[in-house]
């Protein structure tokens, strides 16, 4: 945790150095950062997190002051002569005097804040929480899709492009020929690189490590502008001749975890997918490739494709993703037009399969860590969360505004006196505003730290799906700038009213401290502020409640198969360098061994796990093309999966008709398929689909079974026409084994891994996960949303409750005399208690009404994520209101108890 504090401190400091004038920064900026880094390390080693906080408290004021003084000096054209009094005062330009005033305002503000440390600390904590909420979400948005890829340089000129249908609805990746055509033809891009995913198993002697790798064009790193941490990246001749140069680059983290961070490993031979490769370089720390949710651990050149992905003719197949770097002066639009023109000459002059001709358009977007479609989905989702976090900032700001306004009331005499002595009203307002802005600025720094810790927490939430999936969300200077901007905006909006209020026009009455009328106005004003805070926090609570309900509801939706009691493991035989014969032998040997393990009742091999974020699409040719069906030329889009005889026993999808696959359904026998209900209805709209045939991969396929519809991709999908074909007839080297077992996964996993090792000890250790873990991806957005809004709701409620407590306590303290009189006249403890609590409840009740109305309007925005839960779900609204009232009751009970204990004698004597 404090490591994160160190890195954020460095980042915040680097941003603050920008306060200095440019010439100073150029000359001393690096040294200042270096010095601070040293101090930071020393402070961290000496006292951990507390040392860091102390260092900041010491550094911040002097840094701000030095920066302003330096800016002032920069405005004075002539060098000041040392120790000369006259020189100090002679050169005063307009900007100079503005800076002078700012300096003195800041000094005064700093003194005022130091004079009331409790107020200052509480206000800064409150702002830090609010600012931290929005900054955390922004940090996640920034890390995933907004900032240029870490490790690259000139990232704002990197663009991703993709062939799309003219309406952009569908896209396709590019073949190697297409890539070369574009790379050699473009003038608007200074470089075009291509990449694709590849499963690698890398061994440096002993057991191999299964990693996610990229197979890339030779210019991949140079187009990105990445420099190696050690060694080198691909040379031109490593990108020209197929299979001539087996070389590999590994990630910094792989180098640390598997190669002992040893810099002599460059040039050493390692085994990649069973073949000897030379390790030529290590990528810089932080560089994760161009698809950042997956941590890329190794890069190999495209020319090694035939060895790493054998048995595939990739000459014409579209399998590459492309990005490029814009030439200086070239616009995105110019690049798009040029690429579209290149694409149409490609389509016209080559024998590309007819199906690709429709992809004549080009979509061009910034290169960030996610492809375009995923980026938009991610931005939409995080924008919702940012909205929720914005509510917390709003609550925090209102909270501080009411503290400031209470303070303004307390300082009226001071302000009135200064006015009477001739201070201009504008000057006083500016002074008060400077104080609140200073608070919000310090709060922004606090918020950046909160965000640093909160994102560290978010990173720890495991992402279901691919095992190498992870996120790196840490804040950077851009995030800090965002925190500063939002905080300053909040400070201006919420600091102005209290400042104006503090410097009212009517001096005489304020000098006399006679305040009956204005105090009524103030009470009303602060009641509105508190009701606003309460209402907003209720909105957050309701949203959190709805997401929790949705999680529960989603978990109850019947997917049509049974996920409990099944272990799964992905086996990438291709990445082990296995050919098809060896892979088939391996799978049958593994099947036999696993079937014999204790507790195993059924096993299956398939290519994809249902509802785990992967799908295969294809088209089938319907018999006797039925024109009324609307399918062009009798073709029907389907999804499919490979299955084996045990598959339906493992996933427990029930048969409606026909039989499961048999081991005799192999590559030599007649092609068969099992279809789901939806596809059965399409094949035989009014009868039995069994025995029907259709065309698939230019072969006749006969339906031998019909199974019940289930979920395939997501819980809310429209059921697709789905087709199962025997694994043996749709051979793929990479398979998933699914095992229904009665023993717990924890004890099954080691036995399974032993079985794999018995067959081939050199294989990387497979990752065993439960079916439930794999499918939990479908509820992942709801889970994240529930966690985030839950935390935000908790913080919001806490702030609002503290605000409520504050206002009730304040009112009790003002009414001490009145309460004393009441007690003296015979009021009972309960009467006083009731009177005060009623006051709190009146505010809370209004808060509930306003909050419920606001929530009804707001929760419609999240309806799409709630499955069958209504966005105005009565139970959630009622439950959260009750929770809310309970907290409000506590917040007003505490001051009430104190009021009830009032001793009439002391109360009457006071004031």
């Amino acid at each position: 945790m404090s490591r994160r504090l160190v890195s954020i401190s460095e980042c915040v400091f680097a941003t603050l150095v920008r306060l200095f004038p440019p010439e100073f920064r150029v000359r001393f900026g690096d040294d200042m950062r270096e010095l601070f880094r040293d101090q930071l390390r020393a402070a961290h080693d000496r006292a951990g997190a507390r040392g860091i906080v102390r260092l900041w408290v010491r550094t911040l004021p002097s840094l701000a002051q030095a920066a302003l003084l330096e800016r002032r000096d920069a405005l004075r054209p002539m060098a000041r002569r040392r120790n000369s009094i006259t020189a100090e005062t002679t050169f005063t330009s307009r900007r100079d005097s503005v800076l002078e005033t700012l300096l003195s305002d800041l000094r005064f503000a700093g003194r005022m804040l130091r004079k009331s440390p409790v107020f200052t600390v509480v206000a800064i904590i409150v702002i830090s929480l609010g600012s931290g909420a929005v900054t955390t979400i922004f940090s996640a948005m920034n890390a995933v899709v907004l900032r240029p890829l870490p490790g690259t340089s000139g990232g704002n000129r990197l663009v991703l492009f993709e062939r799309r249908t003219p309406d952009f609805a569908e896209g396709v990746s590019g073949s190697y020929g297409y890539y070369r055509h574009v790379r050699d033809g473009t003038r608007t891009l200074s470089g075009v690189a291509a990449w694709s995913k590849v499963s690698l198993s890398i061994s440096t002697g002993g057991e191999g490590a299964a990693v996610y790798g990229n197979i890339v064009s030779g210019n991949y790193f140079s187009v990105l502008g990445v420099r190696p941490a050690i060694g080198r990246f691909f040379a031109p001749d490593e990108d020209r001749i197929p299979l001539a140069k087996p070389v590999v680059v590994v990630s910094h983290s792989f180098w640390e975890s598997h190669l002992g961070a040893d810099s002599t490993v460059i040039g050493r031979s390692v085994s990649v997918n069973g073949h000897p490769f030379t390790l030529i370089g290590v990528a810089p720390a932080g560089f994760r490739g161009v698809f950042t949710p997956l941590k890329t651990e190794a890069w190999v050149p495209l020319m090694m494709q035939a060895q790493l992905r054998p048995g595939r003719d990739l000459a014409d197949a579209p399998w590459l993703w492309m990005f490029g770097r814009l030439e200086r002066g070239a616009t995105r639009e110019a690049a798009r037009r040029e690429l579209a023109a290149l694409t149409s000459t490609w389509v016209d002059n080559t024998s590309e399969p007819a199906g690709y001709r429709k992809y004549a358009g080009i979509r061009i977007t910034d290169l960030t860590g996610l492809p375009d479609d995923a980026r938009n989905a991610f931005l939409g989702f995080t924008a919702l969360l940012l909205g929720a976090a914005g509510l917390v900032l709003l609550i925090a700001s209102v909270n501080v505004a009411s503290m400031l306004s209470a303070r303004a009331v307390a300082r009226r005499r001071e302000m009135a006196l200064r006015t009477a002595l001739g201070a201009a009203r504008g000057r006083l307002v500016r002074q008060l505003l400077t104080e609140s802005l200073l608070l919000f600025l310090i709060g922004a720094i606090g918020g950046t730290f909160v965000a640093g810790l909160a994102t560290a927490g978010l990173e720890r939430i495991p992402i279901p799906g691919d095992a190498s999936m992870s996120l790196e969300l840490s804040p950077d200077p851009r995030v800090f700038a965002f925190a500063l901007l939002t905080s300053v905006a909040a400070g201006l909006v919420f600091g102005l009213a209290p400042a104006l209020q503090g410097v009212g026009k009517d001096i005489t009455s304020r000098l006399r401290n006679d305040s009956a009328a204005s105090s009524a106005r103030r009470t009303l004003g602060s009641s509105i502020l508190i009701v606003g805070q309460l209402a907003l926090s209720l909105v957050l609570l309701v949203a959190a409640g709805l997401f929790i309900r949705a999680l529960d509801d989603g978990a109850r939706i019947d997917p049509g198969f049974q996920t409990t009691g099944v272990a799964t493991a992905k086996l990438n035989a291709e990445s082990w360098g296995y050919d098809s014969t060896k892979a088939r032998a391996f799978y049958s040997a593994l099947g036999e061994r696993v079937a014999a393990l204790p507790g195993v009742t059924a096993i299956a091999f398939t290519d994809i796990i249902p509802m785990s974020n992967s799908a295969n699409g294809a088209a089938i040719q319907l018999d006797g093309a039925d024109s009324s069906s609307g399918d062009r030329g009798g073709r029907l889009a389907v999804q499919l999966s490979a299955a084996d005889p045990g598959y339906f026993d493992v996933v427990r999808i029930p048969f409606l008709l026909g039989r499961p696959f048999a081991s005799s359904d192999d590559e030599r026998s007649a092609k068969v398929a099992i279809v789901n209900e939806t596809l059965a209805k399409r094949l035989a709209p009014d009868g039995n689909a069994l025995g029907r045939t259709f065309g698939f991969h230019r072969q006749r396929v006969t339906v031998v079974g019909v199974v019940r519809d289930s979920k395939y991709g997501s819980l809310t999908e429209r059921t697709p026409a789905f087709l199962y074909v025997p694994v043996a007839q749709l051979w793929r080297p990479d398979l998933v084994i699914m095992v229904r077992t009665t023993v717990a996964p924890a004890s099954f996993a080691p036995a399974f891994r032993d079985a794999v090792r018995d067959i081939d000890p050199a294989l990387p250790r497979p990752l065993v996960r439960t079916f439930e873990q794999e499918t939990s991806i479908v509820l992942f957005p709801q889970r994240i949303a529930a966690i985030v809004t839950g935390v935000l709701g908790g913080v919001g409620l806490l702030l609002a409750a503290v605000g409520l407590y504050g206002i009730i306590a304040y009112s009790v303290s003002r009414r001490t005399r009145e309460i004393g009189v009441r007690v003296a006249l015979g009021a009972q403890r309960w009467d006083v208690l009731g009177m005060v609590v009623r006051e709190g409840m009146r505010l809370a009740g209004t808060g509930v009404v306003v909050g419920v109305l606001m929530a009804v309007a707001a929760t419609r925005l999240i309806a799409g994520l709630l499955f069958n839960v209504s966005p105005i779900d009565g139970m959630t609204f009622a439950g959260m209101s009750v929770l809310f009232i309970a907290v409000a009751l506590l917040a007003s009970y505490l001051p009430a108890r104190r009021a009830a204990a009032t001793d009439p004698l002391t109360a009457l004597r006071s004031d």
Partner: protein, 118 residues
């Protein structure tokens, strides 16, 4: 004392300490901060902002200069800049010390210390 040196005096406490520290050996920023904190028992502390303001002023006046020496650092961009005392700096420093010496050894200062010493 030559007249031209007088224009530099008196030195501010921070400047005096900084020049004194550099009189012993060439130092980089963090070394200076630590040396000065040690010498003054924590009475004079320097933060990144004001340290480099002082250094900038002293560089401008020619009392210190950047040293050719570069520290052995862990990586390329962690090259620390070292500073050294110039000849002028040495003269100003000794003039200041002489000035302080005559101050503390003056009869009235001695009398004062004798009277108020604890």
């Amino acid at each position: 004392m030559p007249a031209d040196l007088r224009t530099y005096l008196p030195l501010k406490p921070v400047e005096l300490q900084l020049l004194l520290a550099l009189a012993d050996e060439e130092m980089h920023g963090y070394g200076l901060v630590q040396a000065i904190a040690d010498r003054t028992d924590g009475l004079v502390t320097l933060e990144p902002g004001n340290l480099y303001r002082v250094i900038k002023r002293l560089l401008g006046e020619g009392l210190v200069a950047e040293s050719d020496r570069r520290g052995v650092a862990e990586s390329e961009d962690e090259r620390r800049r070292y500073y050294r005392l110039t000849a002028l700096g040495g003269r100003v420093l000794s003039a200041e010390i002489r000035r302080l010496q005559s101050l503390v050894t003056s009869p009235s200062a001695r009398a004062l210390v004798r009277r108020w010493a604890t």
